[in-house]
Amino acid sequence: MAAQTKQQSVPLRKTKGYLLRKNIMRHWQLYFVIALPLVYLVMFKYMPLLGSQIAFRKYSFNGGIWGSPWVGMDNFKRFFSSPDFTKLLWNTIALSLYNIVVTAIPPIVMAVALNYARWNWFGKTVQMVTYMPYFISTVLIVGILQQMLSLTGPLNNFIASVGGAKIHFMGEPGLFRTLYVFSGVWQSTGYSAVIYLAALAAVDQELHEAAVMDGASIWRRIWHIDLPSIIPTAIIQLIMACGRILTMGYEKTLLMQNDMNLSTSDIISTYVYRVGLNGMQYSYSTAIGLFQSVVSLLMLMLVNWIASRVGETSLF
């Protein structure tokens, strides 16, 4: 602002604070609506982050979060030097990557295919039927899996009846990842496809009509019109999935785990469950959780950066 030497009315400085207050006054309804979720976010998501500090302390009930003694990087060192660390890290990454890559594709294929369904009722019915397994609880899914794949179950009986040797599916370490991933595909494809279907439905019909008039076959249309419209959504999903690479949920793994497949089924989350919760090692397990979160954040930023370089879509 121009410096004025006169003592009279100083022109109103349009500071940021002033502008913000004016903004709030004018659109107070919007701010009001967002106020409550913001409070929720701060209270339940940000403030508990302060509790993560016990990763650097030795937590005891007496001291609580703020009073327990500091031990620096001890907990992290203990985790990194434990004999299982390499195995756990590899198992977690391998399972996650396998999961991300394989579960990314079927929803796209299904969404595109359903988009071209000739009869509307067919498309809707298939969509609903494939959507349903998502709501079945993990415990039930694994129970069904164990029954179906048991040595005396239907699949093995079928294999035996055509003259093959029975396979002990749940006991083979080599099969664990495949079973995990493909049962997940069955469960979540319908649900994930919905997002893509929404994106496809938003495609302008005129584009399709123009393409048909130009003599494009269905495959060309898919390639040039449908896929480009859902690629941005797919990339965003992929980036977010990469961000969860180390924090894979433990419920399904824990249920599918047994003494025979531990070499591939033991992941960081199940280790934390065993050691942290059952062994009441709160500091130790928080340290591992913090490690997971930091790596996830780095992964997220890395993949996002790659996506922004290679294409136009990125998360931020």
Binding site: Q146, H168, G249, Y250, D259, M260, Y273
Partner: protein
């Protein structure tokens, strides 16, 4: 440009928070513990309220009812849920209040709650009930290390002063059961929890093998007494039509499940080669703590188990399936398909939990411990399992610790425990007549009149002391399979008699390593090692038995793996605790 920047950072933070919200036990536990917590620092040393002189004490003489002289005292109590019923509506609750003069203010965890989470929250916030119960189930009861930790941190009160002065029920229990007081006392002389006592014999010998005697008869075979004979019997089960349905191929000679009471594969069948106690697989040899799975005898046993597996006698699913799956398979057809199974009780292969109850359970008899090639015949024994510690605490914020103690102590007397276990004399039970016999075939002490009533008694909630005589002196039909005997009752007698066979060759008391109290440091270290060592050993066990690792070639690699998991350190910690414990011989 700047607005975009702000928006981008905000979005990034939000997404990072969402993406990073791992939802693993650690973050949820940390958030549950709450923010700044000023814990009530319960005074750890003996409380100031020593037992007052009788004239001005608010209580009557120990051993007389009511406990409270005038009026009532109210105590708050935290306990697990009771299925769909409430403890407050339990038939026994008003009786106890009336008889003792102590009223209870119930804080009941919903059945689906994690009782331990709730207790952790109580401790962390400092807002505790007067009495804290975890329930008798193994999943929620605290192990000694945790119990000692709570005591050391001043969260729960030491109770030995009351046990020495005003106790009646527990005093009698200590006299009847040798070793009990030592078992529940920490190295520095404190007692932090009041245990339930379950004098049943069968829980002391969990690892049994149930063999289908019907099949033995069908094939004209003798009951096996050695490992070699057992192998022959298994082979016969496999090759011939043992269950008599015309199909020689549908029998599964031997099976077990991946986890359950007494189900470990290296238990009953490993004992002829190397004694391997349940779960922890530890024992004491001349004062030295040893780990069974790394001994030479264990290696021999692995060869035997591998033989059983490779000849198709051991069900491959044993390592992956659970009790429900095994029961379903065996109960599926008209005839049983499982020849022998490892478990604490027949319910692991027969459906004794839903009506109509299984008929097949009568075919299975417990096998007496086998003799190995060296002639070794021994059964793992755990007498300390009778004392269920870590389930009943008096918190340091208790308004009237002596009242709380006297209540639980009264429940531990014979009359209190009869009330909790069975019910009221005259209605639920009566004194036995002269001609009625108990489980041992001797004259019985009491006869039950009712059974299966819901929400009728406190059962095993707290302070239930059933010494061995209490358990066996009930009137029993000497024939467990009689028509008028419900299977669950008959099962109890079958298991009692089966346990007596094991008792004949039980391991020496000095070779048992009980659950011990340790310092907080040591406990933390030990539980960390235990939670990684045992799963690893289980994995190797599965691999040795199934043959994917060779007992001859991979044994050294196995020993090295156990070392790298911290076996030596683990044994050192245990040895240290054992040496200062009252169990040291």
């Amino acid at each position: 440009m700047k607005r975009k920047g702000y928006a981008a950072i905000l979005a990034a933070l939000m997404l990072a928070a969402a993406g990073c919200n791992s939802g693993t036990a650690s973050s949820s536990t940390a958030s549950q513990s709450g923010s700044t917590s000023q814990n009530s620092t319960g005074d750890n040393s003996s409380s100031s309220s020593s037992v007052a002189a009788e004239s001005d004490s608010p209580f009557n003489e120990p051993g007389t009812l009511p406990i409270v002289k005038d009026g009532t005292i109210t105590l708050s109590i935290f306990c697990p849920g009771n299925g769909e019923y409430s403890w407050a509506d339990n038939d026994q609750t008003p009786l106890v209040e009336q008889m003792t003069g102590i009223k209870l203010d119930w804080n009941i965890a919903a059945s689906s709650d994690n009782v331990r989470d709730k207790i952790s929250t109580m401790f962390a916030s400092g807002d505790m009930t007067d009495i804290i119960l975890t329930g008798v189930g193994n999943a929620n009861r605290y192990d000694k290390a945790s119990e000692a930790m709570f005591g050391a941190q001043g969260l729960i009160l030491p109770l030995e002063q009351y046990l020495d002065t005003v106790s009646v029920g527990y005093k009698a229990a200590f006299e009847k059961m040798g070793g009990m007081r030592e078992y529940i006392t920490t190295p520095d002389g404190h007692i932090y929890s009041l245990p339930n006592v379950d004098g049943s014999l069968h829980v002391q010998y969990n690892m049994k093998l149930w063999l289908n005697n019907q099949w033995l008869e069908n094939l004209n075979l003798q009951v096996p007494t050695t490992t070699q004979e057992f192998y022959e019997v298994m082979k016969a089960f496999k090759e011939q039509d043992a269950n008599g349905n015309g199909d020689p191929n549908d029998e599964i000679p031997l099976s077990t499940v991946s986890s359950g009471a007494g189900t470990q594969i290296d238990g009953f069948l490993m004992a002829p080669f190397q004694l391997t106690p349940e779960t922890n697989k530890l024992y004491v040899d001349n004062g030295t703590v040893k780990y069974a799975p790394v001994q030479d005898g264990y290696r021999e046993g692995l060869r035997y188990l591998n033989t059983l597996y490779s000849e198709g006698l051991l069900n491959p699913e044993s390592f992956t399936w659970n009790k429900d799956a095994q029961v379903n398979l065996n109960e599926a057809g008209d005839v049983a398909v499982i020849g022998a199974f490892l478990a604490q009780r027949p319910g692991y292969a027969c459906d004794l939990s839903t009506e109509p109850f299984s008929k097949k359970w009568e075919q299975y008899q417990s096998l007496a411990p086998l003799a190995g090639p060296s002639g070794q015949r021994i059964a793992a024994w755990n007498p300390y399992v009778q004392y269920q510690t870590g389930m009943t605490f008096i918190s340091s914020s208790c308004s009237n610790p002596e009242a709380a103690f006297r209540l639980i102590d009264w429940l531990a007397t014979n009359e209190g425990s009869m009330l909790s276990a069975i019910g009221v004399e005259g209605e639920d039970w009566r004194k036995a007549e002269a001609n009625e016999l108990d489980m041992d075939g001797k004259p019985a002490a009491y006869t039950t009149l009712t059974s299966g009533l819901k929400n009728h008694t406190w059962a095993q909630l707290m302070g239930l002391v059933r010494d061995p005589y209490f358990v066996t002196s009930v009137t029993t039909n000497q024939n467990p399979y009689a028509d008028d005997v419900p299977p669950l009752t008959g099962r109890g007698i079958v298991m009692y008699r089966a346990s007596q066979e094991h008792e004949k060759v039980k391991q020496d008391l000095s070779t048992i390593l009980p659950d011990m109290y340790m310092s907080e440091e040591d406990t933390a270290q030990m539980s960390l090692v235990k939670s990684t060592l045992q799963p690893s050993q289980n994995e190797w066990l599965a691999q040795f038995v199934t043959g994917s690792k060779s007992v001859d070639n991979d044994w050294d690699a196995y020993l090295a793996a156990m070392e790298s998991q911290g076996l030596s350190e683990y044994l050192e910690l245990l040895q240290k605790a054992y040496d200062v414990s009252p169990f040291k011989q």
